[in-house]
């Protein structure tokens, strides 16, 4: 008689051995037990398992634990389907062509590139192996892991940082402000309110002394580009509500003031009243003048300038002709500047009243 041993079948999770990207950091990985091959009905925020098929512009993936991981051909990665807006990289949409897709951002945003900056190479190509799903077959979306809604609340002081465009020094300015207030003994929450999910800015804020760092991935979005504006607005208000235990919130809005979502938010009457003050980052004086004029049309007046222009004394001197104080990153990181900003804001409020 043949002795038949029972067959031992081991079911492994579809993501075993995969690299989980930054935008997935709030996701409970144990829930990803199924892989849905159908990607036709993919939604923004859906998690997908993909395989790297050609290394292009993005040669590293930002991992959920805050490390970079060099990408290799054949790597399996967990990323989110989302749009991307980046003037000096890609514009991309949250869709896949069959199973082909582009890695639009190193933080883990997958979609299809529709345009790219002239200095940028082709996107890293990935093949979508499928959408990740729970045991019931329901696709896993970042929104399911968002912070729960809270009643609207604001910290004592909320400072918004806006810019004339991408890479104009907004994050350095925001980090400087965080550092200044943290050094003066205040508890600071730093918030990246809009943009594309990436850990770089968050790490800058944390290194500057923020007690709490939050971004739109905490409210379930891998990117805010082409999201319904009401969703973006609710997301920002939720993040601010989580900052209400801090003395100060520093809120960076991505890209330039004329970027579609940022422009829509700032153009809504009263929306910017969430901020006690705005600080504008610009690469040069003329850009600053343009943004100030754009903001003035909407009744908004930053209290100070910062950004790349502060690297050049002649640019800074030219920008000072606007009549606004010009602070570089280190000056913003001075406790004395934090005190002065507080008093400037108090005086401006008194004047407005």
């Amino acid at each position: 008689m043949t002795n038949l041993s029972p067959i031992q079948t081991t079911f492994s999770a579809p993501t075993d051995g995969a690299k989980w990207s930054y935008v997935t950091r709030r996701v409970c990985r144990d829930e990803a037990v199924r892989l849905l091959p159908d990607t036709d009905n993919v939604s923004t925020g859906d998690l997908v398992l993909a395989e790297v098929t050609r290394i292009g512009n993005h040669k590293r993936l930002q991992l959920a634990d805050g490390r970079f991981s060099p990408l290799w051909h054949g790597d399996r990665i967990v990323v989110a389907c989302a749009d991307r807006f980046a003037a000096d990289q890609f514009e991309g949409h949250a869709s896949f062509e069959d199973s082909k897709a582009d890695l639009l951002a190193g933080g883990g945003v997958a979609g299809t590139a529709v345009s790219k900056h002239g200095k940028i190479g082709r996107a890293t190509e990935i093949t979508i192996l499928g959408r990740l799903a729970g045991p019931e077959g329901k696709p896993i979306n970042l929104a399911a892991f968002a912070l729960s809604l809270r009643p609207a609340a604001l910290p004592d002081l909320t400072i918004g940082v806006v810019g004339t465009g991408m890479n104009t020094g907004k994050t350095a300015a925001a980090a400087g402000i965080v550092n200044g207030f943290a050094r003066s003994g205040r508890r600071v929450t730093a918030i990246k309110a809009t943009g594309t999910g990436a850990f770089g800015d968050m790490q800058q804020y944390e290194a500057a002394g923020a007690a709490q760092v939050l971004d739109f991935t905490d409210v379930g979005m891998a990117s805010t580009y082409r999201q319904p504006i009401a969703r973006v607005e609710t997301g920002i208000d939720t993040l601010l509500a989580y900052a209400d235990t801090s003395d100060v919130a520093v809120v960076e809005l991505a890209d330039g003031v004329s970027q579609v979502e940022t422009a829509t938010l700032l153009s809504q009457p009263g929306w910017a009243s969430r901020f006690d003050a705005l600080i504008l980052a610009a690469p040069d004086a003329m850009a600053a003048q343009g943004a100030l004029a754009w903001l003035k049309k909407r009744g908004l007046a930053p209290v100070a300038l910062s950004g790349l222009l502060t690297r050049s004394p002649i640019c800074a001197a030219e920008a000072a002709e606007t009549g606004l104080p010009v602070f570089d990153r280190d000056e913003l990181g001075d406790p004395a500047t934090a005190t002065a900003l507080t008093n400037m804001i108090t005086a401006a409020k008194r004047q407005a009243a």
């Binding site: 003994g185 004394p313 001197a317 000072a320 104080p325 602070f327 000056e331 001075d334 406790p335 004395a336 500047t337 005190t339 002065a340 900003l341 507080t342 008093n343 400037m344 108090t346 005086a347």
Partner: protein, 284 residues
């Protein structure tokens, strides 16, 4: 040295300090007293010892050594003596010597220069201010560049002008006592001289102190702040802390009895900023 404790600092980061009186937190916030450019901080500590006992307040005397803080009197100097004092006070709070919160600040000569600039740059950490016989002052005049005025310049540290302009109303909203010896009229080597400064501020420490008081009072009114500034001429005193303390009891101005919050009736200062209207002086 009696009830005087020496605390070693960290060169260039935290100044050494003499702590006069209780080294555990008292009900009242501490007084910080800053030396002149001769740096006679130890003798100053001895002269303040009796006063610390009288008013039951801890008096902290930082020592801005010449090696680390040559131009400490500017406060926003290259090595930032203002941040040095903030670091010292943070350390004293952490070590349990004083309570967190605002402190009174007094200074003699170069120490008074430091004190008025420090309080202007960090108005939220200073309560009462006593300024005695500085050689020259920062005036509330935006047309004149820092450090003579609050104007900004294109040079390094132009940011200081922005700080002072932004903080003006907050700086003025406090009790300020300006003292100077009636015989402190010598144009000695430590008095900054020159056509511009003489024209702006006057020829002697007495004239300069009076002009600064007038300028500050006017600036307060322009800023919508009720001025609380008093001028004390110390009769028979020249430019010496010891003489001023012995003959004219400068120590009483330097370290005044603590005020208490009318709201909570505690000697200890409220952590929130409370205007002078909400404070009342306790009996000496």
């Amino acid at each position: 040295m009696g009830n005087i404790t020496f605390r070693r600092g960290i060169p260039g980061i935290v100044p050494d300090a003499y702590i006069v009186g209780a080294t555990a937190p008292t009900q009242s916030p501490p007084v910080v007293a800053v030396h002149g450019i001769r740096r006679e901080v130890e003798s100053m500590a001895q002269l303040m010892e009796r006063r610390a006992r009288e008013i039951v307040r801890t008096i902290v005397l930082p020592h801005f050594d010449i090696g680390s803080w040559k131009r400490y009197q500017m406060a926003a100097c290259k090595n930032r003596s203002d941040l040095g004092l903030l670091a010292l006070m943070d350390n004293l709070v952490r070590e349990g010597h004083v309570n967190a919160g605002r402190f009174d600040l007094s200074g003699f000569s170069g120490g008074a220069q430091f004190a008025h600039r420090f309080a202007w740059i960090h108005p939220d950490v200073v309560d009462r201010l006593c300024l005695t016989a500085p050689g020259w002052w920062t005036f509330p005049e935006v047309e004149i560049s820092w450090p003579y005025g609050t104007g900004t310049s294109s040079g390094p540290r132009s940011v200081t002008g922005h700080w002072l302009q932004a903080n003006l109303a907050s700086f003025l909203d406090r009790e300020i006592t300006v003292c100077v010896g009636s015989e402190d009229v010598s144009r000695d080597k430590n008095l900054r001289k020159g056509d511009d400064i003489d024209a702006q501020q006057g020829m002697t420490r007495v004239t300069r102190a009076k002009r600064w008081c007038d300028a500050i009072s006017q600036a307060a009114k322009r800023a919508g702040v009720t001025p609380h500034i008093s001028f004390e001429l110390l009769e028979g005193c020249g430019h010496s802390f010891e003489t001023c303390a012995v003959r004219a009891r400068l120590d009483q101005h330097f370290a005044a009895p603590a005020r208490r919050c009318a709201g909570c009736a505690a000697h200890r200062q409220c952590t929130k900023h409370i205007s002078l209207k909400g404070l009342e002086r306790t009996a000496a």
